[in-house]
Symmetry: C4
Subunit: 234 residues, 4 copies
C-alpha cells in the first residue's frame, strides 16, 4: 500500500472515532500498519481533529519505534501501538479511546463478561483487563510497558487477539484492534456499547450470568470463521 | 399490496429504527408481511443502512422460508420473524433491535414490570422474557428456535401478542411487533423508553411496585379497543 | 389576549417541550389560560407535533370543560389541566410530559428532595408526589381525579403552587406550571434536570442530605420575590 | 490586552460551555481577568446566550468588585469569581456550570477520587469538595463566601490551584479555572467527563481504588511542567 493511502486510512479512522462519539477533546488515536514496509501510521500527538490533515499523519518504524516520515510527533501512545503490532502478527490496525463506559470498567479494573449476543457477535469471550502496572514499569518506558501488560494478559490466559479484539488497561482505558483499522474502529464502537449494556445489566440484576458457551460459539462463529453465514457472500 | 410497496414500507421502517436511535452498526432489522401473497419483506443481512435501497429488500415465503425475490440474502434473523408471522396471526410487522436498555433487561433475564402509565399505554402488562435456550436448540435451527421460545412464552403464560406487542429474548434482546410495521417500530421505541424508565425507577426505589390492575386497564383500554377515547375519531 | 395569540403561545410551547428533549412520540401537552375569557388552549389529542398548526389548538371552557373552539379533540389530559386552572388561581400555563427521569421518580412514588441549589433556584422545597389513586377514582372521571389528587397534595401539605411549580403523579409522571406557559415549559426542563441530578446524587452517596433551609431560602429568594437580585432590572 | 479582546474571549467562552453541553437554560458563566488593568470580564446575569453580544459583557474591578464598564449587571456569581482571582494569582479564567454529573457529586458532598488516567492527565489528585457553608456565611455576602470556602479548602489541604484546577461547592456545583479562560473551559469539560466516569466506576465496582501515586505522577507530569512530552514542541 502506498504511504499516502495508509495516512489517508488513519486520518479517516481518527475522524471516525470522533464521529462515533468515542472521543472527547484529543483523547483518542488510531493507527494502521503496513507490514511489508515495516511502518505504521498514527495520529500526531495533541493535535485537534479539526486541524489535522492526512499529510500530518507521521509514519513510525515497527523495528526502531522512530518516526520515519512526517513533521509532527506521533501520539504519546505510539510505543503501546508498536508493541501490539510486534506481538500480535494478525492485526492491521489499533484504536485507543477514553470512551465513557469502557474507561469506567478499566477504572473498576474488572473484565467485561460476555452477558449477551451483542458481545458474542464480536468478542469471543470476556473482554480482559490487564493487571495494574508496577512502579518501575510506570517510571520508565511507560507506554511500551502498557503494551507489554496487554500482551502478558493474552499470553497468560491463552487468549487469541484475533478472536478477542480488545482489552481494558486497568486504571486507564480500552485498546481495540482488527484485521485493518476500520475493524479496529468498529470494535471500539462495539466495546463501548457492550460496556454500557453490561453495566446496566448488573444494575438491573446484580446476579446476572454470562451466556452459555454454546450460545457464545453460535453467535461468534456464525459471523467469523469458515462456517460464517451472516451477511452476503464472502 | 404490491410487492414494491411492501419493500418500500420495510425499507422505510429499517431507516426509522436507525433514526430513532435504536440501532448501532447493522444491529437491527424490520420486516412486514403480505399474508394474501404469503410473503414477508425483510432487511438484507449485514448491509449498511446508508447503502440500502428499497429494491435491495428481499421477499421470503412464509411457508417455505425461502427467498422468493431479490438478490441479497435476507437477515440472519429471518427464521425468527417467520415463526412469529406463522404463530401470531394478528401481526403485520416485526422489529428486532439491540437497543441499549432493552438489551440490558434481556441480558439480566428479567421481565419488565409495568411500573407506570407510559408502559400501560402500550403494553397490557409486563414485557415477558423467554427462558434461556437449550444446547440443542442453539446448535441446530437456532434462529427458528428463537422464535419458538418466544411463542412458547406467550402460550404458556396465556399472553395475547396483540396486547403485549413485544418480548425480550434472554441473553439477546428485544423483538416487537404490531398490526403493521409502523406500529412495530413505534413499539420498539416505546419498549426502549419503558426499559430505561424501569431501570431508573428501581435505581431510585428498589422496592418500587407495579401499578394496580385498575390503572393498567384504564390506560391500556383508553387507547386500545372499542371504548378507546384517546386521539381523534377512529 | 386574542384567541389566536393564546393558540400561538400554546402551539409554540408544545414544540418547545419537544425541542427540549422532554417528549417522545406524542407523550406531552402544554396549555395556557385566558382567565378573563374563561378559556384555556391545549394541545389536540394524539396529533403529531410535525403536522400540528396553531389553528389546530382547541379552546376549552374552564367552567364546563367543553371544547368551545377548534375542530380537533383536546388532549385526553384536558380535565387534569382544568382542575389545576380552577384550583390554582395564580397559574397561567400547565405542561405535562413523560420526561425520562421525572417519570422514573413518579414510578418510584418518591418525592424529589431539594439536594442542591439547581433545585432551590426554581422549586422552594421538595417536588411532591401524589398518593396512588383509588380504584373508583381511576374508573370514573380519571383525568379529573388526577388533578384532584394533585390539589389534595398541595392542600394537605400546605404547599404554595406558585413556589413549588410542579408535582409527580405517582405511577404516571410530572406536571409543571407557571405564571405563564413559557414558565411552565421552563419548569418542566428544570424538573427533568433536577430529577436526573437527584438520582445520580443518591447513586454516588445513598446518604446524601437535602440542603439546609437557609441555603434553600437564599437561592429561591434571590431569584423570586421582592428582594430578588438575579438577572437585570425587574 | 484591549478590553474589547477580553470581552470577546469571555463571550466566546460562555458560548463554548453551552456548545459543550455543560449548560442548561442560563446556568453557567465564564470570566477572564486582565491583571494589569485590574479588571475581569464576566457574563451578564440571567441573559440568554442567544441574545448576548460581546459588548454586553461587563467589566468588574478586582479591587472594588464594582462594575466599571458595560450596561448590564454582571452574573450574580461575580463575587465568587472575584475571590478566586484575588486569592489564586496564577489563574486567568474561571468557569462555573451546573453540569450534570459534577453537580451530582457536589450534591453528594463527595470529592472525586482520581480513579484513572483521564483524571490524572488534567487534575493532579482528587477534585476536592468544600465544606457546607454556615448559616451566617449564607445570609450575608453569600457569593463572596462561596469563594472563601473554596479558598479555605485549598489552603487547609495545601492544594495548588494550578495543579488541581477545579472544585465542587457542596450542595451547589463545580467551579473550574485555568491559566486562561480557554483552559478553564477545557477543565470544565474534563471535570464533567471525569465525574461521569467516576460515578460509573463505583456502579461497576463499589470497591474501586484510586490509581497509585506513581501513575498519577506519570500522567500529570507527562502533560504538565518542564519534562512534559505530550503534544508538539513547547
Amino acid at each position: 500500500m502506498a504511504h499516502h493511502e495508509l495516512k489517508e486510512l488513519v486520518y479517516r479512522a481518527n475522524l471516525d472515532i470522533v464521529e462515533a462519539g468515542l472521543v472527547e477533546l484529543t483523547w483518542g488515536n488510531a493507527s494502521a500498519v503496513d507490514r511489508d514496509a515495516g511502518v505504521f501510521a498514527i495520529k500526531p500527538s495533541g493535535v485537534d481533529y479539526d486541524a489535522m490533515r492526512p499529510d500530518d499523519i507521521p509514519l513510525v518504524s515497527i523495528e526502531t519505534g522512530e518516526r520515519v516520515e512526517g513533521d509532527l510527533n506521533p501520539s504519546s501512545d505510539t510505543p503501546t501501538h508498536r508493541v501490539l503490532y510486534q506481538q500480535f502478527p494478525s492485526i492491521g490496525g489499533v484504536v485507543h479511546t477514553h470512551s465513557d463506559v469502557a474507561v469506567s470498567w478499566a477504572q473498576a479494573a474488572e473484565p467485561i463478561p460476555c452477558l449477551g449476543t451483542t458481545h458474542a457477535d464480536h468478542f469471543y469471550g470476556e473482554v480482559p483487563v490487564t493487571r495494574r502496572m508496577a512502579e518501575d514499569e510506570i517510571q520508565s518506558d511507560y507506554e511500551h510497558n502498557t503494551g507489554a501488560v496487554i500482551v502478558e494478559r493474552f499470553r497468560d490466559d491463552d487468549i487469541a487477539p484475533a478472536q478477542v479484539p480488545g482489552v481494558l488497561v486497568a486504571g486507564h482505558g480500552p485498546f481495540t484492534w482488527g484485521a485493518d483499522v476500520a475493524h479496529a474502529v468498529e470494535n471500539a464502537i462495539v466495546l463501548e456499547s457492550v460496556a454500557q449494556k453490561a453495566m446496566q445489566t448488573y444494575t438491573i440484576n446484580p446476579n446476572a450470568k454470562p451466556i452459555d458457551q454454546t450460545l457464545l460459539d453460535k453467535h461468534y462463529l456464525r459471523k467469523h470463521g469458515e462456517n460464517a453465514y451472516y451477511g452476503q457472500e464472502r
